[in-house]
Every structure is written in C-alpha cells, then in structure tokens.
C-alpha cells in the first residue's frame, strides 16, 4: 500500500472530476455558493469511504455477475443514512442541495471506485482511496464555488449562517458580478476552464519528465 501515491492520484493525477471526468452533474449543479460545495463534498467523502470499506470487505462474497446490483444497494444504504442525518441536523443544506443528495447513489465516482478499485484491493487501501478521492472531489467543488460565487455574485464564503447572515463576504461592489456565471451556463464554462487548466498542467509536467529523462 502506497499512501503517498494514492494521495497524489486522488488529488491530482487521477482526480475524479478533472481527469477521470466522473460526477459531472453534481459538480456543475450545486456549486453556486461555498456552503453547498463543502457540504456536498464532505457528504460524498463520507459515503465514498464507507461504501469503499464495505464493498472491499465483501469483495470475496459478492458473485461477479450481480456485483453492480450489490454495489448499488450498499451505496444506496449509506446515501440514505447521510440524507436523513442532513435532514435532521443541517436542514438548510439539505434544502439547498435538494434532489442531489439522494442522487449521490448514481454518482459515477462512487460506483467507479467500487468497480475499479475496491473490488480488487484490500479494506485498508480502499478506505485510504475513498478518503483521497473524496478530498479530490471536494477541492474541485470548493474551487468551482469560490470562482462562481465571486464572479457571479461578487461575494465569497456564502451560505454559512455565522458569516454575515448567510450572505457571505462582499469582495466586488454590488451589481458588478456577471449573473450568467451563477446560472447553468457558468457551470459548464467554469468546469471547462478548470479541466483545460488540468490538461495543460499535466501535459507540462509530462513534458518536463521526458526532458529530464532525455538529459
């Protein structure tokens, strides 16, 4: 088990959103205010880690032909638990994320990791993988939220009830923001720029490596 490698893969080189291109729906849909992004990211992190642990523990028991159905039942169980917990303790978050919390069941990141990693690896490695992939997803959401909230609305850290009554800290003067960025269009455009940046950065580091080898 190579924790350092898993860390790097989860956060950068195999980032679930920017490199594996999984879980696009929620990434674009809910990233309008900071609180949503953090809440969604942490929910996925918890569900992913728990389902990774259970699935890798059961991997020798689950028959190959019905494994997808088994994965979905395990994932749906944890999603329901988190959904009910959020409804009970953080109702504001549950309201603003709406249908996207139960939809974590069909988030391809979780099913993708179950199929691609947990079904072949041990419990400890799968748990670590869940945590790092979850962090990789969360940081992308947080960056998307920061960019979209700042450009679209002129504020940062919105939605947190203890900062300025959920209105966030105003950075740009009132009326300067480009409303389009907070709308669905902005989701597509900001994510496109992030992925493009990632492709550029990965290509650059690849080039550097080959040059070093050549010297």
């Amino acid at each position: 088990m190579d924790i350092k490698k898993q860390f790097k893969e989860g956060l950068v080189t195999q980032n679930p959103v920017l490199v594996q291109l999984l879980g696009m729906c929620s990434t674009m849909a809910i990233t309008t205010v900071f609180f949503n992004g953090v809440g969604m990211g942490l929910s996925v992190l918890i569900i992913l880690t728990c389902s990774n642990i259970v699935i890798s523990a059961l991997r020798k028991v689950i028959p190959n032909s019905i494994r997808i159905a088994c994965f979905i039942v395990v994932i749906a169980t944890f999603v329901t638990i988190v959904d009910l917990l959020l409804k009970a303790f953080v109702p504001a978050l549950s309201d603003s994320l709406g249908v996207f919390i139960p939809l974590i069941v069909v988030n391809c990141i979780i099913l993708g990791r179950a199929e691609g990693f947990c079904y072949k690896n041990g419990v400890a490695a799968s748990a670590v993988d869940g945590i790092f992939q979850g962090i990789g997803y969360t940081w992308v959401l947080v960056v998307m939220c920061l960019v979209r909230e700042l450009l679209g609305n002129g504020t940062i850290l919105g939605g947190l009830s203890f900062i300025n009554d959920s209105n966030g800290i105003r950075i740009l003067p009132e009326g300067v923001g480009a409303l389009g960025i907070s709308l669905p269009v902005g989701g597509f455009l900001v994510l496109a720029c992030l992925i493009a940046f990632m492709q550029w950065a990965l290509a650059r580091s690849e080039k550097k490596k080959t040059e070093e080898v050549a010297q």
Partner: protein, 203 residues
C-alpha cells in the same frame, strides 16, 4: 384532469427546465454518447422510454408500498426507503428492457449495445422519479413528466451531437481545450440559448 396543467408540465420539462441544460441531470451519458447523431438518438429514445416506465412503476410503488402500505394493514410509513427502492426498481427495469429487446427487437438491441445497461446510472432517470415525489405529482402527471423529461433529454442530446459532429471535423482550438473542455463550452453555449425559454410560461 386539467389538460393545461399537463401541457405546462410538458413544456417545462422539455424547454424551460430542460433536464440537461437547466437541471444538470444526466450529464454523463450526454457527454459520453454524443459523438455521433445516430447513437445519440438511440440513447435519447431508450432513456425516454425508461424514464416514462420508471415514473409509472415508481409512482405505484411509492404510493401503495412505501407511503400508504395498505396491503399489510396499518403498515409503517416506509418513505425513508425511497432512494433504495427506486434505484432497485430502475435497475431491474433496465435489465427487463434489455432482455425484452434482445428477444423481440434484436436490431434495436444491437444498435444500443453497451448504452442500455448504462441507463441505470443515468441520474436523469432517478432524478425524474425523485422529482415526481418532491412535486407531489399524481399518476398521470408523473408519467407525463417522465416522458417529456426524456424528450427534453432527447432534444438536448440530438442538438449537441449535431453540433459536435461538425466541431470535431473543423475545430481549431487551443491545445489545452481539446476534447472534453471544448465540448463543455459548446454545451454551455447551448445552455445559454435555452435560457431564452426561461420567461416562457403557460397561463
């Protein structure tokens, strides 16, 4: 039954609150299966069919097994089981559709190929079922919302695939944007056009 209300649900699902461009449901197959118009159309039709069927079956299950389990006498309210019950229903429906097509319409089965099982994890299908529950739709409204939501998905994926076919042939874009990012930008521009419908309302 109020026909204007059904019409307004249909219009909302196809144009105003399009599943792809305004609700962000079903982005994965939308990006993955839109490189060719033919396969995009097949996928759109299959999704429409499954969405309609899932809306009907899940409404019945939700109403008579989960919320009012009258069959078992004074049963408990099992509404908390919705997510698990719905995803299992959808998975088995997709499996059933796959077996049915394989036996009876092998040509369509061949054309859809690997895309059929992928419909299970299409969040538009689970999304439409959950939205039906959230909006308290009755049986007919649920089915209409399911089918027209699917048609909205079909419209979106068809438009996008048509644009993308040309884009891939004649594109000249920065290297970093090649592939997925430029497709996202294209989808964003179509979404911008769809925002023009947002003022549209019936009565």
């Amino acid at each position: 039954m109020d026909v204007t209300q059904l019409f307004s649900i249909a219009l909302g699902a196809i144009l105003v609150n399009n599943f792809i461009f305004s609700q962000f449901l079903g982005i994965c197959p939308f990006m993955g299966v839109s490189k060719k118009v033919d396969t995009a159309l097949g996928m759109g039709l299959a999704v429409t069919f499954v969405m309609g069927l899932a809306s009907a079956v899940c409404w019945i299950i939700n109403e008579y097994l989960l919320v009012n389990p009258a069959i078992f006498g004074d049963g408990p309210n099992l509404a908390f089981m919705q997510t698990i019950a719905f995803i299992l229903v959808i998975a088995s429906l997709v499996q059933f559709v796959e077996m049915f097509l394989k036996k009876n319409v092998p040509s369509l089965y061949q054309a859809l190929g690997i895309y059929l099982p992928l419909i299970t994890t299409n969040c538009a299908v689970l999304g439409v079922v959950l939205l039906n529950v959230q909006n308290n739709y009755n049986f007919i409204e649920s089915v209409v919302y399911g089918i027209t939501g699917g048609l909205g998905f079909l419209l979106a994926i068809f438009l996008f695939a048509s644009v993308r076919e040309r884009l891939d042939a004649t594109m000249d874009c920065p290297k970093a944007f090649e592939g997925f990012p430029i497709a996202l930008v294209t989808a964003g521009l179509i979404a911008l056009a769809f925002m023009g419908f947002s003022g549209l309302s019936v009565f």
